[in-house]
Symmetry: D2
Subunit: 307 residues, 4 copies
């Protein structure tokens, strides 16, 4: 069972970057200021750590653990939700991380579909997740779907069918795909204490119309304050205003994508906009060419006047 | 220039099926009753003929012409818009059909991206469309994007950049893809007299939130009356009601897809629901197994109580 | 039944380009000299006309007919085999062209899998081909597989299982894919009077090892004389020599591909090397940038010394 | 520099399965008998351990180390080559495993392309591999390409261009793709002490014709003795005999694939044929349905008479 204090996940959740030193080692000292920045400058009250944006698959298990510890400690009293991604190719590593997240005081764990041997059926994916969840049975559990990266195209709606019987701690989905029929059916099906969160920032408004309960994404690290206004406008039924913000996000991201937007470029963009020292990405990501980041920063300022 | 009487395309447009005799020949006699059905039973006032749903690529040029003539004649005074799809692999065939559509009194023409040799760039696609449009310069011209079938993934936003200089009769897009960033950017960019219409029926609500001006799809042949309610609810800001209808559509289509939903099955479904004799599909589509159609009809009735 | 004079298809078959005037109209006057060139300069004795290389899908049915007539007439007595590709999206157009090919004296017809509505099963594809073949029952019939362009991935081995019962005139496959397990199983299964021809020129040697009876490709238009030496070397068991030629072909094509090799560039390359006036490609193919063709010509000469 | 005793990799290399207990823990006790079986029953003198077949990505780093130790120890004096796959998503884990393999006495290491963040360029992939190789600079290093599983489609030929300057210990490629143009260009380019090994067992003969120096695959665990005959036949220029064996392999694998062939099914097949207790696969692979394995075993016996 989830703890009594369980708060349903909602609103904006920033998928955090992992700070590195210039030499490429994990840099824990940036995490405190990072949380300050999110909370004070962006109005973001939830984080999703060690996910895609956090380069988790490029980290060792030991690195993921010390990062989890630091994020959880520094977030205490400042963030409403710290969700720790514990997905690995090895179910044993994932169990290890799940157990550790529970001991560390995370508010929930999430698991990506394994993607070397790709589960062919919802059943295989459910079995994998059940094994992981069983190592931290009291921690809210989320399935993290991101088919563009995993190549796993099993419908989420099939995955969550009666999943509470297999995984009593199941609490929802981070849905980072473009199949909004599948998304809508998840919203339509989901239990009262589940959250269906959307993860494709550039089309968040579409998912809100379809009933999304919140959003998890990397851009909320630096445009969270603007997207909070999008959420408010949507809440008030002001689609014109909501669209205006969404279209700016699209213009920014589409511009960045033409320059070759990956987590490395994204990390540099965050560093420039926040002033935090995030360091380079780790291989196989290549360092962001400096002028690319500069051009995107300029585009950002032309679209979103400084607050 | 488009004619003075040009009305901006909006609302629901049914992508019509092509009626065949049991022997597989074009059956013009069904077209009059078909228009009655759409107009009277479904409240649909626009049609998109000889498109994907109409199996146009499986028809000869001569067949497409007689169909165009019959649809235009029977729709006169009953439909607000008759858009004729004239896309072919051969630009010469497309020009021939465009000229014919103009002579026949169509309200507009649409062209799919050629998909054997796939245009690699927006420029190549624009050149192709320019050649076709030039054969019917006074007819509103629409680009029909459907990447799942064509494999052409050029961003529509890039295609429509300044396209009015190349194609003065350009009036919009039938966007049948799931990339709602590209879609949103089209909405954001488009000129006052252009229409950005959405073509993935099962996630229409998402596109409406993003600013869609209307919708073109096959399911509006038989659930148009319900989707008109979805449109009204959305217009009034009643997202709860709009979602309820959208979720039913998703449940129907997802059920059908598990049974192997293609244009052949879809055609049989329409025949069962409307009572029109639509005949079999043409090869390479295979006839719909009777029990599949029956099961989907039952699902339909369980979801949408008879009006 | 196939005619008594049936000769099993083998050796090198050039997939011919369609000559256009500078204005983009079919240019029949080049066809005679083209055949002279193939026969005298390249030692090629078979042609596959109106295929992918011939831009057939970009032609009208009428154009395909006059081309067929001219190729058949000029090839008489000079070519051992004239295979006419009659594949279309519309089974009716294909039947029309099949009938015409029979009347014109072609030695065989070939059909590509329809690729807008893609056959989902071998059965649907077989039904489509059966309909076409039945319009020219005395003409040897070949299935033309090219999954990279059609997106149809049905195994050829499944397509040809007992196909002689459906299509008595069936005589083989032009296999233009990279799945050499499927290819090998076709070779292993095929009847004595069938031919399994390979269509990926840059890895022909691999298919020969697997038992290919011959090859159909666009590069045999201009390196046929060299590839004939590859065939001879292979026949004699001289793999070192065969590989040396194959590696040169690979170097040429890989160089061309980095420059953006498509049928338009390929056509220009043939024009430069043969001196034939082939004209531009037709939209959606874009004209080949002149310097690209020049660079590839230089590469050609550096690899293959002039004969 | 590679050690003085370096022997160029060639011939058949079995990609070994990882034995588990029925409870899913690594079962070292099977490794000795496994090596006996390969050596005595299959005539196989090289192994590739902790690769795809060995479910390495589903193992923890610690498990991979104890497996490496056991394979190296038991192979001593019995196998000519023990290549240890050390590829991980995390470059740090890979370096750790590379260092360990060097200490353990492996004959070489191999690295798969990272496939969560997929290298976009040959350069990014080379940088990743350089980091790993630098942790074991005296150990022959091989790039393990398997695009169907990784989704990384960078041409191998581009990867190996001048790679000896970046990675002095580079000694070759395990090429498990179907692009035999790329393969041929690797063979054509490679240095005298490199090996280009092929990894798609069902079309090995094609790669041999293109100049493959050897083969690494899972089926050599149980049909190595037959494939050794294929190699001998090919060596003698007896393509008829070589094809006969290759076609049987294709028939077996194509039959298995129709039943849903994955590493789990493959492992069960090996267990049945060898009598070794290999245990179940690990999640996300599901246990092989017993009757599937039985059917494939029967097919095996019908194709390959017992020795």
């Amino acid at each position: 069972m989830a703890p009594a204090a369980y708060r349903k996940l909602a609103g904006l959740i920033a998928a955090t970057f992992t700070p590195f030193t210039p030499q490429g080692e994990v840099n824990l000292s940036v995490i405190g200021p990072y949380i300050d920045y999110l909370s004070e400058q962006q109005g973001v009250k939830g984080i999703f750590v060690n996910g895609t944006t956090g380069e988790s698959l490029s980290l060792t298990v030991a690195e993921r653990k010390i990062l989890t510890e630091e994020w959880c400690q520094k977030a205490k009293g400042r963030m409403d939700h710290v969700i720790v991604h514990v997905g690995c190719m090895s179910v044993k590593d994932s169990q290890d991380l799940a157990r550790h997240a529970a001991q560390t005081g995370a508010d929930g764990i999430a698991v990506i579909a394994p993607f070397f041997f790709k589960p062919r059926t919802a059943e295989a994916l459910r079995e994998f997740m059940k094994e992981v969840a069983s190592a931290a049975p009291n921690l809210p559990f989320y399935y993290y779907q991101i088919p563009a990266l995993t190549g796993v195209n099993v419908h989420v709606r099939d995955v969550i069918e009666g999943i509470e019987k297999l995984i009593p701690s199941f609490r929802g989905v981070k849905f980072s795909g473009c199949d909004l029929m599948d998304f809508g059916q998840c919203v339509s099906y989901c239990q009262a204490d589940w959250s269906v969160l959307y993860g494709v920032d550039e089309q968040l408004l579409a998912a809100l119309a379809m009933g999304a309960h919140g959003a998890v994404g990397s851009t909320y690290n630096y445009i969270g304050c603007h997207v909070n206004k999008l959420l408010s406008a949507f809440e008030k039924g002001d689609l014109v205003q909501a669209r205006a913000i969404q279209f700016k996000m699209q213009e920014l991201l589409s511009y960045a994508m033409k320059l070759g937007f990956d987590v490395g470029v994204n990390k540099q963009l965050m560093a420039e906009l926040s002033g935090l020292c995030l360091g380079p990405p780790r291989l196989p990501l290549m360092p962001c060419p400096h002028d690319h980041a500069q051009l995107i920063v300029q585009k950002y300022h032309s679209l979103f006047s400084k607050r």
